[in-house]
């Protein structure tokens, strides 16, 4: 009896789905205007967040060249530039694996795995990146304070500038981190029950 009621219920759902298709057959849901809009959309290879981050990192690397002029040791300047270029590469690599056009044909399970992997890599990167950034900032303040070619007033000016930059960087970084995490968690939540191995 229970099997029968379940069967009729499922049959009813199939009939309701047929009704939906019949209704949709009578409707014009797509037209030339919509298709035109879709095909003329600019397809970017990287999403906006990643692109802005990489641009910022490259700008910061080029700005770091000015460290040479104010008397910061060359090794410190080179280290800064290399670190920023590596960060830009890291950002590109992180986002490259989960681009829409790459995963659009993947199945749900694969998207879950890629998103989960990306989230883990992101968390690991933060554990390394934040202490390194603190170390670098402490090193920068030390080098500015001990630089013999800069007068005391200019040193104060640079230090205030560095602190302002640090605060701005923390705020921007925190907002970006929240947005990225939100996106990844949203995807994972939607398909969260896929934890079984195939």
């Amino acid at each position: 009896m229970e099997q029968y009621s379940n069967h009729t219920e499922l049959q009813e759902m199939r009939e309701q789905l047929t009704l939906l298709h019949r209704k949709l057959d009578r409707e014009i849901i797509v037209n030339e205007k919509m298709i035109r809009k879709i095909v003329t959309q600019k397809i970017s290879t990287l999403d906006n967040v990643a692109r802005r981050t990489i641009i910022l990192q490259l700008l910061a690397a080029s700005y770091s060249l000015s460290f040479f002029r104010i008397g910061i040791p060359a090794w410190f300047c080179c280290l800064t530039i290399v670190a920023l270029l590596l960060a830009a590469l890291q950002t590109y690599t992180f986002h490259h694996g989960l681009q829409v056009k790459d995963v659009v044909s993947d199945d749900l399970a694969e998207i879950y795995k890629k998103t989960y992997r990306l989230k883990r890599r992101y968390a690991h990167w933060l554990k390394i990146g934040i202490p390194l950034a603190c170390l670098w900032f402490a090193g920068l303040i030390f080098e500015i304070k001990t630089a013999s070619s800069i007068d005391e007033e200019s040193k104060q000016f640079f230090i205030y500038g560095c602190i302002t930059g640090l605060i701005a960087g923390i705020v921007i970084g925190f907002c970006k981190h929240r947005k990225t995490l939100y996106t990844m968690n949203n995807i994972l939540q939607e398909i969260d029950e896929f934890t079984q191995k195939n």
């Binding site: 939906l20 209704k23 797509v30 397809i43 056009k101 749900l108 998207i111 029950e193 079984q196």
Partner: protein, 159 residues
């Protein structure tokens, strides 16, 4: 339009029902259907060059639509999109067909997104192999999940 655009337009028109059905089952209102539908079209357009006929076109379309609906960020601010050229509003229309369709929606919408995908494909008379290929789990897993989904649907109607 050039060849790829013509091909795209043709594919979309042939499969508009599939795309709309998936978007409907994953949305909460007609504005969201609009957003998801157009995002699905955009993803189909982006993915078309990479689709090399490895699977059946309808399998690919199902997959892209599910991926879009499941992965779509629920934006607080709606994008300004071209409105769908239809007055159809399955959430509010009062005719008997719409009422029946809403009953189907209510049942399916209470399931988790992953299960929604599986049950929709099953209701479309797809084989377990086809469902497994679209969703990305084993055939055995499809069978187990479908059994659980049917139990859940039974519980819902008993309540």
């Amino acid at each position: 339009m050039d060849t790829s655009e013509t091909e795209f337009a043709q594919i979309v028109k042939e499969h508009k029902n599939t795309i709309y059905t998936v978007c409907f089952m994953f949305s909460k209102d007609s504005d969201e259907i609009n957003d998801l539908f157009q995002e699905s079209l955009l993803n189909l357009w982006k993915g078309l060059p990479n689709f090399q006929g490895k699977s059946d076109i309808s399998t690919w379309i199902w997959r892209v639509c599910f991926n879009t609906c499941v992965s779509s960020e629920r934006k607080k601010k709606r994008n300004i999109t071209v409105p769908l050229p239809t007055d159809l509003n399955l959430f509010e229309d009062k005719d008997e067909d719409s009422r029946q369709i809403r009953m189907l929606y209510d049942r399916i919408h209470r399931l988790k997104p992953f299960d929604r995908a599986i049950v929709l494909l099953w209701l479309e008379n797809m084989s377990y192999e086809e469902i497994a290929s679209i969703v990305g789990i084993s055939v055995k897993n499809v069978s187990v999940r479908l059994f659980r989904i049917k139990e859940e649907l039974k519980k819902m109607s008993n309540n």
